[in-house]
């Protein structure tokens, strides 16, 4: 009788208790996304005489982002992309040189975006899904935490498109927006940054 009870308890534990930790472990297994080279970043700003749009049209490195679950709600998104300031193209040689100078390219040739988290695990369908996440943006040696709005989807070729956008200020990074002709021409402090990352799950 005692032996039967022990066997029943063991069977119960096997079916319930022993099985339960293994299932989340599978769900929690980190997912890696490899960033492809046709990813891009654009920066839009304005002065009191015009608007400018500067792009880094292609990402020239191979990096990965790792998605994993957190103990509390949300998911971690770890990875770092480094973008060459010299790759910025503002479609006007003077403005391109000015942006590179303003971002202090000589001393800090790279702009970094360090991914920290997402508010939820994306479903990854063809329909773009709106999510948010935290990143650290480092420009000219100054790092700042920002919440980013993302649109994420996966197309038929299983390419994941992650589009992140955020308005930042030059002054967030202790940068002074350029002013010309005694301040008659002023660049606004506000910049709209948008990055489009194409990735494959690996």
């Amino acid at each position: 009788m005692l032996l039967n009870n022990v066997c029943l308890v063991l069977v119960f534990l096997f079916v319930t208790g022993f099985n339960s930790p293994t299932q989340p472990e599978r769900e929690n297994a980190p997912i890696k996304w490899m960033i492809s080279q046709n990813s891009s970043l654009s920066v839009n700003g304005s002065t009191n005489v015009n608007k400018f749009s500067c792009v880094i049209p292609a990402y020239d490195r191979i990096d990965t982002l790792t998605v994993g679950s957190k103990k509390d709600h949300g998911v971690t998104l770890s990875g770092n992309i480094g973008l060459n300031i010299s790759s910025f193209d503002c479609h006007n040689s003077g403005m391109t040189k000015q942006l590179r100078k303003t971002l202090n390219e000589k001393q800090f040739p790279l702009l970094h975006i360090r991914f920290l988290s997402l508010n939820k695990l994306p479903v990854l369908t063809a329909q773009p899904e709106g999510i948010t996440g935290m990143v650290i943006i480092e420009i000219a040696g100054v790092s700042k935490h920002f919440e980013i709005k993302y649109q994420i989807d996966r197309d038929n070729q299983k390419t994941i498109h992650l589009v992140g956008s955020r308005v930042i200020d030059f002054s967030d990074f202790n940068l002074v927006p350029p002013r010309k002709l005694g301040g008659m021409i002023k660049t606004k402090d506000e910049l709209s940054v948008e990055f489009h990352m194409n990735m494959k799950a690996i």
Binding site: V49, N50, Q98, K180, L181, M184
Partner: protein, 135 residues
């Protein structure tokens, strides 16, 4: 000497108002002409703003001395004297400077042409005032 300084100061004040007022209106109503100034070729940190705004007085004192030295050579009505004075300054001083600037700097024809016309207008206005107050 005192006359040169006083007329220079008066003309400097007039040019300051007209030049920077005109520039402000130009930026406001013809912004497309100023797009190319967003270039590291032009000082962008504000460290030379005081020098920029002193230009009206630099040119007024220089032209005041030039007028006092050569005013007897400008003959005719007040308007003719002022116009001729401006044109002489533009040909002797502005044209060669604009020429070397355009040939050596990454600037546009419109930029150089606008500088030439700006300087010519300043010199004509200065010439008219000199002809009136220091004939």
């Amino acid at each position: 000497m005192k006359k040169i300084l006083i007329t220079g100061l008066i003309v400097g004040c007039i040019l300051f108002i007209l030049s920077y007022g005109g520039l402000y209106l130009g930026v406001r109503y013809f912004p497309g002409l100023f797009v190319d100034y967003d270039n590291p070729l032009f000082n962008s940190d504000g460290s030379r703003d005081i020098l920029f705004y002193l230009h009206a007085f630099i040119i007024s004192f220089a032209l005041s001395w030039f007028w006092a030295r050569f005013k007897t050579m400008f003959k005719g009505t007040l308007i003719m004297r002022g116009l001729e004075f401006g044109v002489v300054y533009a040909i002797i001083a502005l044209l060669p400077v604009m020429w070397i600037s355009f040939s050596s700097l990454d600037i546009t024809v419109i930029m150089v042409a606008s500088w030439f016309l700006y300087g010519l207008a300043q010199a004509i206005i200065a010439g008219l005032v000199f002809a009136k107050i220091n004939p």
